[in-house]
Structures are given as C-alpha cells and as structure tokens.
C-alpha cells in the first residue's frame, strides 16, 4: 500500500513541471498585485476625488466577486473582445487568448485589491510627523516615499502581505480550470491515465503544503528583519 502510494508511474517530472508553473504564476501575479496595490493605496490616500472613487470602486467590487467568475470572464470575454477589436485595427487572424496571461492578469488584478487595503493600512500606520519632517527638510514627494515611508511601511504591511500571498498561492489552482498546465491540471491528466486520482491530488496537496510552509518561514524571517529595533511586548 505504502509503496503503491508513492509510485507515480513516471508522472513525477510532469508534476514537478506543473509545480514550477504554479510558482511562476504565483510570483508574476504577486508582482502585478503589488504594483496595483501601491497605485491603489496611493490613489486612495492622496488622489483627487475621481481617482479616490475609482480606487474605492475597484476594491469594493473586486472583493465582492469570486475569483473563478472573474477569471472565466477575462478568459472567455477577453477572447471575444480581442477577436472583435482585432479586425477593426486591421488584424484578421483569429487570436487565441493565452491562459497564462488570462490567469496571471486576473489573479494579479484581484489580489491588487487586497494589496491596496494592506498597503493603505500600512501607510496610515507610519508616523505622520516623520513624513512632515521629511517635507520640512525639503525632500521631494518621491524622496519622502522612498526614504521614509517605504522602509517603515514594509513592517506594517508584512502580516497582511503574508496573508494575501498565502491565499494567492492557493488561488492559482484555479488556472487549471482555464487550461493552464499547473500542477493541479498535470495531476488531473496523470490521474486520468493511471486511474490513481487520490495519489496524484495528494502529491499536489503536499506540494502546496511545502510551498505555504516555506513561505511562512520566509515571512517570519522577514518580519524579524524589518522589526529590528522595534520593542515588542
């Protein structure tokens, strides 16, 4: 039984490939979501009214809709949209939307909303007097941001950031539904061929556990690093 559980019938490398795709999707989505998060947070805090409202709508609406629905909307809807728009600009061939692009942009877009909230809270947590002091020294807005705000907000943002990352890694499993060869889909293919679904999905579950466990330790390490000099009760 034990031996039977570990025997992957030669599908081990394929699952490993899928694992790398899962990690790639997660990291690229993370980059997109962080970028959107910073823009969203700055828009919410310092933007003029229409910008603030746009950011507010973005975070409210996105957090109210399931990831899968948005992903299907972007994947199927984007397909239709591109093929309606392309002929108008003089491109007549049928364009297939790439599931990687659809998946990464949707996940990044969704978690950008969560990042916005995380970063907004972190920026608010930085002592306002320090920002004013920066201004008083004649620093430009960008200088205040990179020299005073950023280094300190990282510490406040880390717990929320960690949560978003952990949720996001698990959300990447959804890209298997739109046909991207991540480890869940690879496991599905292997399960279909070998009729051992439990074995393969268990392997995938284990891989996710490894990724999340490593992430938790890295986040802990980052937290200690960025909390250097902070007195904790």
């Amino acid at each position: 039984m034990k031996k039977d559980m570990i025997n992957l019938h030669g599908y081990g490398p394929s699952i490993l490939d899928g694992t790398f795709i899962t990690i790639t999707v997660s990291l690229v989505s993370l980059a997109i979501s962080m970028l959107l998060g910073i823009i969203g947070a700055l828009a919410k805090l310092y933007g003029f009214a229409p910008l603030r409202m746009a950011a507010q709508t973005y975070t409210t609406v996105i957090r109210g809709i399931p990831d899968l629905v948005l992903m299907l909307l972007v994947y199927f809807g984007g397909q239709v949209f591109i093929n309606q728009v392309a002929p108008m600009v003089g491109y007549d061939e049928y364009i297939d939307i790439n599931p990687f692009m659809a998946g990464v942009s949707t996940i990044g877009f969704i978690f950008g909303a969560y990042m916005t909230e995380t970063f907004r809270g972190a920026i608010l947590a930085v002592n306002k007097g320090q920002l004013e002091a920066g201004n008083a020294y004649g620093m430009s807005g960008i200088q205040v941001f990179t020299r005073i705000l950023m280094p300190q907000m990282v510490r406040h943002a880390l717990p929320g950031f960690g949560n978003v990352w952990l949720v996001m890694v698990k959300t990447t499993a959804l890209v298997s539904i739109i046909g991207l060869d991540d480890m869940v889909r690879k496991a599905g293919l292997a399960a279909g061929a070998t009729r051992l679904p439990f074995t393969f999905y268990a392997v995938v579950a284990f891989n996710y556990l490894v990724i999340t466990t490593i992430s938790i330790y890295v986040l802990k390490w980052l937290d200690t690093r960025y909390s250097a000099g902070v007195i904790k009760a």
Binding site: V69, L72, Y208, T213
Partner: protein, 241 residues
C-alpha cells in the same frame, strides 16, 4: 476611437439571453445558497468543540486537530474537492462500503469538502479568539467557583464569539466565493449557470457579468447583515451619548 469600440462592443451584449434563461440562474442561486449555508452551519458546529479542544495542553488532543487545520488551510479548496470527488473512488474499501452512493454524488462531495474546509478555518478563528480572552475574566470566573464547563459556556465562549465575529464574516464571504468552484464538478451553482449560458450562446460577457452581479449582491447582503449583528453584539461597547 476607443469609446466607439466600446460602444460597438456594447452592441454585442444582449441581455435578453439572460432574461430568457433566468431560470438557470435561479436554480444556481438556490444551489449556491444551500451549499454555502449548509457547509457554514455544519462547519461552525464542528469548529466550536475543535477550537476548545485545540487549546488543550495534551498533545494527543491538540496534535491531530492542529494537523487537520494545517492541512486544510495550507492546500487549495479545489484540490481538497478533487481529492474527495475523484480520489475516493480509488479505494475499494470506500467503493464497496455503504458510503459509496454518497461519495459518487458531486453535490455531497462539494458539501463535504466545503464543510471540512470552513471548519478548519473557523477552528483557527475561534481558537485565536479563545486564546485572547482577558486573563481577568478567567480569574473572576474561577474565583466565583465556576466549573470549567460553566466557565466555558458563560464566560469564555460568549466573549470569544464577539472577538471572532469580524474574522468570521470574512470567512463567510470567502466560503461564498469559494463555492463557485463547485461548478467544476458539474454542479449548477451560480457560476455553473453562467458557464451553461456561456457555452450555449457563446456570450461570455452577459453570462459571467450576470453571475458577478448576483455574487456582488449576496456579498453586500452578508456584509450588511453582519454589521447589524455587530451593532447588536457590541451594543455595550458603544460610546454613551
């Protein structure tokens, strides 16, 4: 140029498809409501004792619960559902048992996976709330001679529920959104309805936007109800006028 493109594009949207097929969405709404509320209720009922036991100092009591919570919080709901729906058939012991008619049903498998998943998250939420009970409250309960069970019922759990409510409201919304993956294993929930409409009419915008709006409305309804509940539960903490 761009507005013209958008307008032209908007022309392609035909929401009569939706009004004519609204029955499918209603069926989906009913299935989603059932799956989410059942799994949340059963999950909460499971989570309360689990959260109490996980605070035990005996490793044989808290160890297995910790492992369970760790597994279900560390893996995607989709994989958990696949493990149950596709995976159970791999074992002859399950296939020949009286449980097989249940595990063959997509609906039961989804419910089972959702329940175990939300129970794990809720256990962690309530555990956190129990651990955060102010020391003085427990001392006061002990000094009036309450038994452990009485103290749990009258002091620890009520105040823990109050602390857990904000996090639990997030869990409710996560469960609502998470339930959309039931559509992957043939269940016609709201997302499933949208997928049917999309594949039948090839109309992704109408199909998925409608689903999105329905989910958005339910989310707002939940958030609004929780706010009402919070106002009631935290009435004693409101600043006096």
């Amino acid at each position: 140029m761009f507005t013209r493109l958008c307008l032209k594009n908007f022309d392609f949207m035909d929401f009569s498809i939706i009004t004519e097929n609204f029955g499918i969405y209603l069926e989906g709404l009913w299935n989603t409501a059932q799956l989410v509320s059942l799994s949340l209720i059963i999950g909460l009922l499971m989570a309360i004792p689990l959260a109490v036991f996980v605070t035990s100092k005996n490793i044989f009591v808290n160890g297995p619960i910790r492992a369970y919570v760790y597994f279900f919080r560390g893996t995607p709901l989709l994989v958990q559902m696949f493990l149950i729906y596709y995976g159970m058939g791999q074992f002859d012991a399950v296939k020949s048992s009286f449980l097989w008619p249940l595990f063959r049903e997509a609906y039961f498998c989804a419910l089972f996976a959702f329940t175990l998943n939300t129970a794990a998250y809720t256990t962690e939420i309530i555990r956190g709330a129990i651990v955060a009970t102010p020391h003085g409250e427990i001392e006061a309960a002990k000094s009036t001679g309450m038994s452990r069970l009485l103290m749990l019922r009258r002091i620890v759990l009520p105040s823990a529920f109050r602390r857990a409510l904000p996090a639990y409201s997030n869990e409710i919304i996560f469960m609502l959104h998470g339930s959309s993956i039931a559509s992957v294993i043939t269940i016609v929930d709201i997302t499933g309805a949208a997928r049917i409409v999309n594949s039948r009419f090839y109309s992704p915008y109408e199909a998925f936007l409608t689903a999105a709006v329905i989910y958005l409305c339910i989310t707002f309804l939940i958030v609004w109800s929780i706010k009402k509940l919070e106002a009631r539960w935290f009435a004693h903490l409101r600043p006096q006028e």
